[in-house]
Assembly symmetry: C2
Homo-oligomer: 264 residues x 2
Amino acid sequence: MPTLNESDQSDGAALVTSRSGKLWSTLAEVCALLRLPVTHAIRADDTHFHHMHYRTGQRIHSAGQPFEMLYVVHGGFLKSAMIDDLGNEQILSFPMRGDVFGVDGMHNRRYGCETVAMSSCDIILVPFKTFTELGKRYSELDVSSYEVLSRHLMAEQARVVSLGSLSAEARVARFLLQLSDRFAQLGFSGRRFNLFMTRAEMGNYLGLTLETVSRTLSAFNELGYLSVDMRAIDILAPEALRTLRRLPPSHQRTARKTAPTGQQ
Amino acid sequence: MPTLNESDQSDGAALVTSRSGKLWSTLAEVCALLRLPVTHAIRADDTHFHHMHYRTGQRIHSAGQPFEMLYVVHGGFLKSAMIDDLGNEQILSFPMRGDVFGVDGMHNRRYGCETVAMSSCDIILVPFKTFTELGKRYSELDVSSYEVLSRHLMAEQARVVSLGSLSAEARVARFLLQLSDRFAQLGFSGRRFNLFMTRAEMGNYLGLTLETVSRTLSAFNELGYLSVDMRAIDILAPEALRTLRRLPPSHQRTARKTAPTGQQ
DNA sequence: CGTACCTTTGACTGTCGTCAAGGACGGTGG
DNA sequence: CCACCGTCCTTGACGACAGTCAAAGGTACG
């Protein structure tokens, strides 16, 4: 598999979905991937987890389908989306290496959303049963697995804040910075990277239209905050992006007594 | 404590924070409150949980504070909010009877948001340590506690969908219906109830301004969908509210191949 | 080489935020 | 009891940000 499709990271994301592709991962490997502490006991554990390989466009699970697995991304890029009753898609997250997805199925034993591969993907399967059993066997793991869920929750909260109170420009800026951080964490360049989603998908994720996203990117380009050529992004002024003024500052008003606004 | 403040539910919410107020709850009681299955073993458990009483305006926990407890609402109404670096408040949820809050602290052992009582509140304290230990002792509980988290997650996802793709009118309508359902679940009237938050707080929660909320409510009143007099709501046409047209239908466009839109 | 999709850009429109004024309610103190 | 105040709610007029509609060029792929 010499070439990846367009969602290939220029730097070397290719190694993530390397040619041979592992078939099994140990518990310790999975923990490391999830940035969880790996104790001796865990390192000694002989549980193995199966890998699955998906290609662009393939669906890993759909909404409503019985919940049996958690999924850990070993490589590749995906999108999780809810499809409402009218068939409208709302993208919830773009899982990538080190992320877990399928979590929302725990509640009523059915997945609440669907997840689709946006590039070649290497996914580790974690049967929910195994997951809970391991939590019981290794107490340190138990707490950790709550953390994984909690992490998800924090991410959603951040989304809510973003959607609820930021201008279109600020949302796009933040999104790019998040991607940048994420890529940097994974060992890629946080400065230069390729978007693996379309403008429409970005807009959908951010609660904007594709036109607004496109215009905003053009504006950033114009201002010299970044350079953009189709999917290729080069972040030039991260600070400028980070400090982009928030929403036309209405929402401040609810915060009165509790938090004296230090700023103008 | 004969009278509750304005957030009192006309029907009889008073009993929720009854005069004496319990001091301790058993594990079985807490599980029941959380709508988790109660097994024999759990019923036999002798762990007891302490209650705390808060009055309007008191803060239960703040952001950044070390995480030690989970909180279960036994009675009363609260709000959880994130305060960003500029002192802007973003309301994340309005916890009420049967809800858990403080969950977002698991991740990095610090609460990510603050929670304030909006009425007299009766809160059950669940030390996180106890929580995880119980999960280990009763395997059925372990799964259940994941469910509690997962439930949270679903709620956040629904919020995201709402904020990302619904018009102001639809957001307000949905919000009212959610409240209605919630009250009905708790044994109050789902039709007639009192809002326990200001317009500003509603707006903040929904990503709108207080003026927009006010105007929207007036419009619904005008249309006969409901009657509103300050905090007092009477839902007259739930169906009309439920089927309010979604956002100026752009976002549909991302959904093409995957989900052929069956509607017009 | 043609088709399908993605992206950009422009012109226009509408929803919702902004600013402002006025009224209702509830608590407090004279 | 009434005046006074702060907070909350409503309504109007206005404007802007972002959505809508449309057209055209670019890129990928068969």
